[in-house]
Amino acid sequence: MTGGARGGGQDRRLACVSTGKDPETRTNPTAPAVQIDGLVKRYGSTAAVDGLTLTAPRGAVTAILGPNGAGKTTTIEICEGYRRPGEGTVRVLGMDPVRDARALRPRVGVMLQSGGIPPSVPAADYLKLLSRFHTNPLDPAQLLDLVGLAASARTPYKRLSGGQQQRLSLAAAVIGRPELVFLDEPTAGMDPQARHATWDLIRALKADGVSVILTTHFMDEAELLSDHVVIIDAGRVVADGSPVTLTGSAGQLRFRAEPGLDTDSLLSALPADSAAKESPAGHYLIEVPGGTVEPALLAAVTAWCAERAVLPSSLQIESRTLEDVFLELTGRELRS
């Protein structure tokens, strides 16, 4: 959290001091969960967010993906009202996250990327405190049980494991029965059991009509959970759609064989729009953009191998994963 807190903290969530109009009258039950138009946020000369436009539908799970430094957390924190947009407009449940903060706070649950809970406080006490801020909260003890922390109810936050701390944060985000929750990397640092439990909870939220916006680095998580995926890089949206639209119908056929086979001669035996490459040595990939792997293609490949007395192994037919799409769009070089 550097850079944003200048000018005496004016960049933060502000109490909505009388705008002369009851914020409730601006509530629009059909407004998208989040609507962002041309958002720009600069820190000094660098733009953390650079003309970002996206819509997250109501009642759906929207995953925001992007490499480190892509602008995910800045975008989410602007939606949460922690930072003011530089340019562009942001609407959360149809309202302005800064001007309408007071009306939005009870309706929006927040899970920060880390921390926010006093280290010496027992898990149960913290949830109980937050429950007292709401009119119809979930039962803290039941919720603690649901996220698998019933046995750690009296354990101070600092003595919980990383995954347990994440689960307590998640519970804190939903205790007030919000309409919308922002989850910033909810499963970071969790073991597989905890990840699955968290996924179940997110599915339950969606089933009960809660809109969910999450960021994640796990492509499988985004593919499994979300109705809508937004990939951002360098502060802009580079792809936007359902996981199925994004991965498209592109088919892939992979096999292993001895290295150095002549892929050009293989290509001439395949349908015109196919691509074939060897990377790394001995691993062959045939892609059919915009199509699927047909039986004839498989026959052509195996016939080509037979002509060369090559036995392919580990032959797999698969569709593109979200991870393939992500790496294609954002490149393979490491980010800081």
Binding site: M1, G4, A5, G8, G9, R12, R13, A15, E80, G81, Y82, R102, R105, P106, R107, V108, V110, L112, S114, G115, G116, I117, P118, P119, S120, V121, D125, L129, L130, R132, F133, H134, T135, N136, L138, D139, Q142, L143, L146, A172, V174, G176, R177, P178, E179, A204, L205, D208, G209, V210
Partner: protein, 256 residues
């Protein structure tokens, strides 16, 4: 369990009460804070009243001189040192940021912190006065003290809180911890708590009486040991510090 949305902010009073109760319990659970706010003042009271370690002058009994000073120390330890350290670490751990996303407003949070400080001070004052009475304290005060003592404590609390939040809201948590403890020790020495300001050279003395610590301890001693009705100079001094401290905190406090 259903997650079906049913949002709603609780009434402000309930939120403030919940937060104040939470903060008080957190403070009482913290051994270091408790040492600072209760053990040290009580030890000073007992040690300096039972043994003639310092000659106080002015014709007071030892306990009559010490009790107002120790009450002043208790106020400084709770409203300044303890609050600065706690708030500094809350800021560092993102606790203030996270609370910003709940229905509890900033005003509500500050109200809760004020309630917490006053509740702890009431507890401190009760314990210190009971121990002092057991040690033979006999206050020499007029009836107006019932109003003037709380007024002095309130103004002292406001001044101390302003500077506590100024420290906590501008420095790193570790720097706040160090500075708040250092200032506490210095004020213990030159704040008229156990060492009488009358022992300092005249120039230094009038300066020390203009500090919040000196103004609070001298004012309380005037009312509780000298039978003064209204120590106007000390009250004005504390009021000025309160306004300055709170104004600086409002201007410079950073939430994250």
């Amino acid at each position: 369990m259903t997650f079906a949305p049913a949002p709603g902010a609780a009434p402000m009073r309930r939120m403030v009460a919940a937060q104040a109760g939470f903060e008080t319990r957190t403070l009482l659970r913290n051994g270091e804070q408790l040492t600072l706010t209760l053990i040290i003042p009580l030890l000073l009271l007992a040690a300096f009243s039972l043994e003639s370690l310092v000659s106080f002058g002015g014709g007071y009994t030892r306990i009559d001189f010490l009790t107002p000073g120790v009450i002043a120390l208790a106020v400084m330890s709770t409203a300044f040192t303890s609050q600065a350290i706690a708030t500094g670490f809350e800021r560092r751990y993102g606790v203030l940021k996270r609370l910003g996303a709940t229905p509890l407003s900033r005003t509500g949070l500050i109200a809760a912190k004020t309630v917490t400080v006053i509740a702890v001070e009431l507890g401190q004052a009760a314990i210190i006065m009971l121990v002092a009475l057991a040690l033979g304290w006999s206050p020499n005060a007029v009836a107006a003290a019932v109003v003037v003592v709380p007024l002095l404590v309130l103004l002292g609390t406001a001044a101390c809180s302003g500077f506590a939040l100024l420290l906590a809201g501008t420095l790193r948590a570790e720097a706040t911890l160090a500075a708040a403890n250092l200032i506490y020790v210095v004020l213990l020495g030159v704040g008229g708590v156990v060492f009488p300001l009358t022992k300092f050279p005249p120039g230094a003395r009038s300066l020390l009486e203009l500090l919040p610590s000196g103004a609070l301890s001298t004012g309380l001693r005037d009312v509780l040991a000298n039978g003064a009705a209204f120590p106007a100079k000390n009250i004005v001094t504390l009021a000025v510090w309160a306004v300055v401290g709170i104004a600086l905190a409002v201007r410079f406090f950073r939430w994250e």
